[in-house]
Amino acid sequence: MTAVTAPLDVAALRADFPILGRTVREGKPLVYLDSGATAQRPRQVIDAEREFLEQHNAAVHRGAHQLAEEATDAYESARARIAAFVGSDPDELVFTKNATEGINLVAYAMGNASTAGPESARFVLGPGDEIVVTEMEHHANLVPWQQLALRTGATLRWFGVTDDGRLDLSDVDGLINAQTKVVAFTHQSNVLGTVNPVEPLVTRARQVGALTVLDACQSVPHSAVDLRALGVDFAVFSSHKMLGPYGLGVLYGRRELLAAMPPFLTGGSMIEMVDMTRTTFAAPPQRFEAGTPMTSQAVALGAAVDYLSVVGTDRIAAHEHLLTVAALDGLAEIPGIRVLGPVDGHARGGAVSFVVDGIHPHDVGQVLDDQGIAVRVGHHCAWPLHRRLGVPASVRASFYLYNDLSEVDTFLAGVRETKRFFGVA
């Protein structure tokens, strides 16, 4: 972790987030520890979208009038800034409705490759081919691949998870082999916080000619991520987890792959020529953006990456590291707590999931909520991972730039109160 940066002025940052001033449950100050599910929005982001809608709104890439020009500029300028934020170029960035759509896009495009032209041959999958995922994936990076396997006859394989919540990389060369067509894995677990090593998987996938798909939903919002440097073929992340609006995800794809990949959603704005019997398609990224795009949302995400850049992604990561270690250390002192995943701060981000002996996660969450502490309970869309770790569900506290150490203390006190309330020693 980068410790050489100046600490965040959290109090100043919090003033930008109107919702954090709220109280819940009969006057308790809100302690929002659910940013892993969705982050809150600073007024800068909300204002940017409003300003766009009140001054420049029009359909992009279509009209020849002044508003349409301004709207197109705002939309494409946002794309360029978001691309720069993750170390890529605007033509490699496709806007989707969420990260889930981005992964489905790649999976369906691969499914479509068999009825598309010869230029998409490298995306074709069939019986005998293998798709590799991991046991710690969010359902968004698992179910689409299961379904693709079902539709094409390909086989799904996966990396297991060790007891301490790391990927079991003991057989990389066996799992990723000459049959492998895709390797899809998460950069950072939304449950365990585990940061996975990208390099060995990308290196091996390249050796065998398999495509890599990185789920960067939990890394991009919380640290400096350079997708080109990571060398992955595709990556996805979601606007709403990084201070941006709902309804917007980003799919990154290497230029030459996007150029060869058949379309997924079809309709307006993604075509080259259309007649009643046949359609040809536009170049990327338009080819993958059918219909009216999420214009104002892209503009707002542009403002969000501006905000994150000014604060500094390294400083955000360092700050979250501090909170995470404090939470882990604090939990370690409470008897009967089992933390899922790495128990120290090494190669892990700010999601801390745990179970309390003798108290169901739902009940833990309820007592915390009663104290104004918003955490998430359940399987966090990672049911196979929970099964692997032998628990039906867990409680997750997740941190972001606007959380501070006093909130970690409130949280730890809340966990102790839960045990008291249920009479568990």
Binding site: R25, Q366, A393
Partner: protein, 147 residues
């Protein structure tokens, strides 16, 4: 603290000492229900004799609310006619979906009235209904007449 309203003594008692728990034979139909957001699940069996609910047995995992409400369910329906049991089911569902605005009838719901506080927490209503939905489904599978 509003918490005591939800976690009434009765609920915690049923949770710690559930009634009728464990899967038993003979049975006419079984239902498996799951709460997709939290992974809580229940497997529930019913045994009907004539139009009577002769036995309800169940197993599963879940929070205090789902476990306690299934325990209360067995108290309320075993030994009743299917029609009576469904009257109670309807009353319980109405209570739970009432957002705290429905006044429960103790004559009908007995210990079930303790769940009135849960109805104020929409996210927990599903928990409270998990076992009841399994019961409804199992009776339907067993071909029980509900009216």
């Amino acid at each position: 603290m509003q918490l005591q309203q939800m976690y009434q003594e009765i609920i915690l008692d049923h949770y710690k000492n559930p009634h009728g728990r464990g899967l038993r034979d003979p049975y006419d139909a079984e239902s498996f229900q799951v709460n997709p957001t939290c992974g809580d699940e229940v497997t529930l069996r019913v045994r009907l004799v004539g139009d009577q609910v002769a036995d309800v047995s169940y197993d599963g995992q879940g929070c205090s609310i789902s476990q306690a409400s299934t325990s209360v369910l067995t108290d309320l329906v075993v030994g009743r006619s299917v029609a009576e049991a469904f009257t109670k089911l309807d009353a319980f569902v109405e209570l739970m979906q009432g957002r705290g605005a429905v006044e429960p009838d103790e004559d009908v719901l007995e210990d079930g009235i303790a769940f009135a506080g849960v109805a104020k927490y929409p996210a927990r209503v599903k928990c409270a209904l998990l076992g009841w939905m399994a019961f409804k489904d199992a009776v339907a599978r067993a071909g029980g007449e509900t009216t």
